[in-house]
Subunit: 340 residues, 3 copies
Amino acid sequence: MQLKLSRIAEVTEGNLEGDGSAVIHDVSEIQNAEEGEITFLGNPKYEHYVQETNAEAIIVGPDFSGDYKNLIRVENVSLAFSKMLDHFRPSPPQPEPQIHPQATVSENAILGINIYIGPNVVVEDEAVIENGAVVKANSYIGYKARVGANSLIHPRVTLYNNCAVGENVIIHSGTVIGSDGYGFTRTQEGIEKIPQKGGVVIENNVEIGANCTIDRGTISNTRVGKGTKLDNLIQLGHNVEVGQYCFIVAQTGIAGSTKVDNGVTIAGQVGIAGHVKIGKNAQIAAKSGITKDVPPNTTMFWYPAREHSKARKDIVNIRRISKLKERIKKLEQEIETMKG
Amino acid sequence: MQLKLSRIAEVTEGNLEGDGSAVIHDVSEIQNAEEGEITFLGNPKYEHYVQETNAEAIIVGPDFSGDYKNLIRVENVSLAFSKMLDHFRPSPPQPEPQIHPQATVSENAILGINIYIGPNVVVEDEAVIENGAVVKANSYIGYKARVGANSLIHPRVTLYNNCAVGENVIIHSGTVIGSDGYGFTRTQEGIEKIPQKGGVVIENNVEIGANCTIDRGTISNTRVGKGTKLDNLIQLGHNVEVGQYCFIVAQTGIAGSTKVDNGVTIAGQVGIAGHVKIGKNAQIAAKSGITKDVPPNTTMFWYPAREHSKARKDIVNIRRISKLKERIKKLEQEIETMKG
Amino acid sequence: MQLKLSRIAEVTEGNLEGDGSAVIHDVSEIQNAEEGEITFLGNPKYEHYVQETNAEAIIVGPDFSGDYKNLIRVENVSLAFSKMLDHFRPSPPQPEPQIHPQATVSENAILGINIYIGPNVVVEDEAVIENGAVVKANSYIGYKARVGANSLIHPRVTLYNNCAVGENVIIHSGTVIGSDGYGFTRTQEGIEKIPQKGGVVIENNVEIGANCTIDRGTISNTRVGKGTKLDNLIQLGHNVEVGQYCFIVAQTGIAGSTKVDNGVTIAGQVGIAGHVKIGKNAQIAAKSGITKDVPPNTTMFWYPAREHSKARKDIVNIRRISKLKERIKKLEQEIETMKG
């Protein structure tokens, strides 16, 4: 388990600045690290800890200009530190492939090889569980739903009928995929439900956090593109399409039929109205409310959201209104005096 | 499955403008529709697609003034299109009435006829499952809880003890009804829990989305009125009373003891403080924060929310502060000049 | 079950002002209370009901200056009323200690005495269920997870591997503890997951509402301190540390690595950025967005949040901009006239 620093430099493709024979036996945060531990400096806010830490070595990025007894300098600090976490901290044991005797699996389900289906999992008719997939305890895989190869469904996930999860996808506990879209129409008698007959498609390499809700489309599919990562408690309305390699942070909601292009970053507690388009590589700051289309490569902020620097200026301006009032009052007095 | 356009006009109670012998075999969105498919124009934002679509026919409302080869003109476009969805798109098979052998149903539960109780469902003592109700896999129906006739409880729903769901209700996966209200009081020793001994009443024809939380009342019941429709991830605090035929959109939270009158529409990510009253047919715009009573028939916006046109004006005004500053500066210079 | 008012005064350590021989048989809200019922006045907003209520007696605090036929005056109204709720309203029957035959409990789990493990609960290898703990139906207790003595896990809760819940903790239905923190890094190939190898520690006497999500730490533990109370649908990111005896209201989200000191109150729908510190006894008003450290004993409001009175003033100022515009216009006209 122990690694010499010279070996760590190789594994992380980093440059060692210090003593390659130092021995590392664990990882730690910079503020807590002790002798024999390796840590990292990922956020400039924590740079002052470099003076205080007892770490044996620190992984730093190309821009770090400080001194420390042992540094490993890499292009991507997070990636290098990931490798250390994987090495020094064991993962919990993975379940052996099996269909647990307490699972309820339809005889019409289509099952791949090397799959794990945990206790109290329900797999309905014509559902597909592909090779190497893991469906953990108490999850529900609906009629004609699909779990792609090597995907990991954590405990207590719901996949409604006709929803498809791609390969190498991770879905955390409590998430619901394929609930009916919020489609109703007021009539003379009250409120009528509009049937929701589309599905949900989760493409390969997506990760979805805990207790999210992704509604099925009305006619076609709601879609989350390849490699996109969702945090917890996120709501995607019916017919939403999220592109590839997007980040969507916790408690964000995207209303029906909105399209999010590739590479977009949406911070926490953002709300996006229905039927709008978010352009490629756009960024939405936390808690913003988007009511209109957002052009590509634009950062939006506040509610109702504007381009980030404009919203910033608006906020600064608000805080200056008291001073403006004073200046107006002074002008009024001067005019009074002059008129006097 | 195929329908002639003349027949569709009858079924939707619409006026056909075009060729009644045209044959329709599927539904589609206007931007994707192909020959042989019927589509609809529900949102004026999509009107430009009328020029581009390949649809065989379009369902339009009374106000549509454009041209197309085949139109069906109806009062309520959504309602007409609903009928097409129901006709052309099959629903997943409904479960046959049964108590699944993997369900755990108390012998003291009271069970109607023609009910479905799925695998790993738990039904506690004295719970009532009325005629025709469906409780899908892995749900929990607590002590003395009730599921009304013909209601549909999707997989992985929790109904705590003494909570009552009416008839023809739909509850989506992951929703929790009857968790303890958030009632505590600080004492010298720390924080003391206030027992939550009321229940929850969900009236007939309500629909509740996925992963919502509706807390039980402290003494009486938290209540959701007849025909009201909740989206996903909504929080209703203890003692909240929501009236009839309301819309509440995703991620909205309503704090304890607030009363929402009939016909109210609350958009997404709204927050409503505790102990306030929302008047009949009021509308709350998305992401607004309501801190006071709202009169009937009023539209509220922003945070802290005001009447919609006032909030709009506030936002416009903020964006003009920079110009006001310039005007003040100019005035100051002129006064300086005049004072010489 | 009936109690004389004189006896109630003793039980609540209150002063009786009225007829001690009056007999009470139930509790009620002040607006609904009838003869023979005791009620309480906890919120000054409801004081006008004192004139209208038919309650036999009212529990009031030291500051109440009105008149009523029977009053019980106490230091802490909520606490006194809690005792009445506990007395007059029965709790649902508690489950008898047992391992339900439909539970799936690893033979390597470590089980205390007098525990209840409900149907379809899964307890993985080396998990610990301490004396007197209750784990209700359809919950999942992961590898090496721990449920402390006398804790109550409601139905359908997930505790991931290596997460520890202390003693006398209550966790409501649908909550997920220990899902992976949201840790990713963009690389040339797309997005790489950063392993999340820490755990979650929930200290003694904590209560957590329904459908919350608490992510595991990256290296160390995410932590919720002793006696803290969380409402529903709350998100705590990885490495968050919440102190002791805090209140966190529904739909609040706290981003990764933020530290919340003891005694903090956070209202509903608040968002707190990552890597900030919230000082002891600070208060955050509903829907606020915190982007920076908050000093102790400070009340913050709005988004981006400022000290409460400043934010209030900002909001008042916004609503005065129209008048400022008019004053500026008048000044301009006067100057024009003067320049003549």
